[in-house]
């Protein structure tokens, strides 16, 4: 039973016309009460605070028969455990049987929805396919979280459906790529491409749980390992020197072993530490700014020029590769401003080479870079808010990069990249 006491603590009548609602017992019947005079200019300001909470957990071996991590939210005693799983063709080819065996072993009633793979699959039609699967399955959204298993594209689609299906349905993300494990899979963004624009429709919606299983990387192409390492390097450069030294010591090994080890050196598991530090650093930046209202985001480092470079170079560059090119350029920009010295710049470039990441691209010319910066300025509400490295492991924001500075940096970059490639 609910008490009917009234608490108006957060609907705030506007100061210029603050009126309390009279309790009916205070107002004689037939009285005109407090609502009588003047022009109707009454207003209310509704203020509330919505809690957001989610879990990110490193959980290797999720689909080993005896692991219960994936199903630990299942409540006993209310009929069979039921789950809808959404994945893509690549994951299904490699792990479909393992996943089915796992659910069969645990007696789960499930349906697996398999979407096409890749950026071109990020469409409304595939959103629709997932929605129809949930309808057909008859999901009980309060106790049957949707499980998404795949790369960034797949997780973005599943996240969008989860955020809008009946105004919000819990879901679990299981990233299968390195970039998913350390970047796309730990934040709260969802979306799909539309009308020729990337992520034109999307939401901010946290998965209840993000379960990170590094063993998926065993089957990931080396180039995609490097792709993910670019985002790890980004965190290193802007805020974690120790992470940088790990990449410096073990970079080529991390790629070569697909983050699985064993490693040639004193550290038992540099891949795990690198992942943990990258995730921790990412979460530190995301947590106070989940909806990106603060436009000065250090995690935007490497993402100033790269959106344009990535799009114009399509399909040549992976996302992380374009980010690496952007980081190389902005490292040179920082060097020319005295924020980074030549030996630091050389160490950074050397790590990029170790990670099989590009340090230059032929699109690094003023005619591309200047419009790219202008486009990013539009997205950052009229200011550059360009993060630059300050030494290794720290960053500053600048707003005053000129076209000539950019042109000179591009030229300087071509030489520096050539030197490190030798």
């Amino acid at each position: 039973m609910r008490a009917d006491s009234v608490c108006v603590y957060a609907i705030e009548p506007c100061a210029r016309d603050r009126r309390e609602l009279p309790n009916y017992s205070d107002v004689p019947n037939g009285s005109t009460g407090l609502f009588t005079s003047g022009q109707p200019t009454r207003q209310w300001t509704v203020k509330a605070s919505e809690p957001v909470g989610y879990e990110v957990r490193i959980a290797d071996g999720l689909f080993e028969p005896d692991s219960t991590v994936l199903l630990e939210d299942a409540r006993p005693g209310t009929g069979p455990v039921r789950r809808v799983v959404v994945t893509d063709t690549v994951v299904n080819d490699l792990y479909g049987k393992t996943i089915r065996d796992y659910f069969d072993h645990h007696g789960v009633e499930y349906e697996i929805c398999v979407l096409p793979d890749g950026e071109t699959a990020k469409t409304w039609d595939n959103v629709l396919t997932v929605v129809e699967t949930l309808d057909r399955f008859g999901i009980d959204r309060r106790r049957e979280p949707v499980i998404g298993i795949g790369g960034g594209v797949l997780l973005d689609i599943v996240g969008f459906v989860a955020s809008t299906y009946r105004r919000g349905t819990p879901y679990i993300r299981v990233p299968t790529t390195l970039i998913g494990l350390v970047d796309a899979g730990v934040g709260v963004k969802t979306g799909f491409n539309f009308n020729g624009h990337k992520n034109r429709l999307g939401t901010y919606f946290a998965a209840e749980r993000n379960l990170l299983d590094r063993t998926f990387l065993k089957t990931l192409g080396e180039r995609h390992i490097s792709n993910g390492l670019a985002e790890i390097l980004k965190i290193a450069l802007i805020k974690d020197y120790r992470l940088f030294t790990l990449l410096e010591s073990y970079g080529a090994d991390l790629v070569g072993t697909r983050m699985q080890g064993p490693y040639d050196g004193p550290h038992p598991d540099p891949a795990l530490e690198a992942m943990e530090r990258a995730i921790h650093g990412m979460l530190e930046e995301l947590q106070p700014n989940l909806r990106e209202k603060n436009l000065e985001r250090v995690v935007d480092y490497g993402h100033t020029f790269s959106p344009t470079v990535e799009m114009q170079a399509l399909p040549e560059l992976l996302h992380g590769e374009a980010v690496a090119v952007d980081m190389a350029l902005t490292t040179v920009l920082a060097e020319r401003r005295g924020l980074v010295d030549a030996s630091q710049r050389e160490r950074i470039f050397r790590v990029m080479v170790d990670l099989n990441l590009p340090t230059w691209h032929e699109l690094c010319v003023p005619d591309v870079l200047q419009p790219a910066l202008a486009d990013t300025v539009r997205h950052r509400n009229g200011q550059q808010r360009l993060p630059l490295p300050m030494g290794i492991g720290s960053a500053v924001f600048v707003n005053d990069v000129t076209p000539s500075e950019l042109a000179e940096a591009a030229e300087h970059l071509a030489q520096a990249a050539l030197a490190v490639a030798r």
Copy 2:
């Protein structure tokens, strides 16, 4: 410039494996640091709190040439003021010229997107039409809020687009129906129908401003005035006796004057007070429970049996009419439990009659009501959580209505409704 100090106040490493990230200066190069041992079971809990704030304002005469309320968020000095307006065919026929004249008068660069009217227009295709309009117009989402002008259906569509377009674009709602002014137009729900389900995809997303212009009601059909008054009566019954007495004194007049006055009685503007009290009461209930996590909502009063009755009677009953039938039934249920006495029940039914609202429908039979209740129980996570009036102006929740009690109440209702109709 941003300080690079690290604050981990809200990413909480799990207690069972709490590890602080070492500052790089504390860790000698080459050390294995704190990330060395054991199985990878590290986890993070990200906690944050997202502020939600929106304004609801009574602002009659929004489109009078000299009114600046609608445009008061326009910032001077940054080029022309630009706006996308979304409305429906009915509003466009009646007010299209007024709206265009208003924007022309204020030198606004605008595009008006006109959607079809009615529940059948609540489709993905119309979501798409709005998205394409925003793309074509090239909206600057930080300074050009989308303006939706129309009934509940139109506002739900605009709200859905606004909540997902580039992960959130500010918008302004201008409801043109009474139900929009007091109910749909002051909350935060958005959505559209899909795959045969009402509001299958939707979000919770507040409009920056909800501007309530009562003068639109001059052209609203009387039946739609009654439709909105049903939601006003709901608030009266569950939490505002004074509002009930206003409806009791002025009910027929409110309908007859379309809430515009003048009124035959001592109160200068009972329509304005009724609107204000209904909105205030609604906001009091919404504010602490914007995302409806608490399933015991007094504002669900009248919405237990009515979803099924409304759908099965389509297109016979308007939403508010179905709500009135539900309120009549549950008033009788309450009377049979001794929560409401016969004279209170008679007063409530008399007000419904004054408001031209039905107190009974032929679908009020056990074969319809019992499955309707079961369906609502599913939506309320397994419990009835049925609000019942306790006297007039207060409510309680019950969870123990039996099929036989419901059948007897339905029979009792038929007699009571017949009596009041005489």
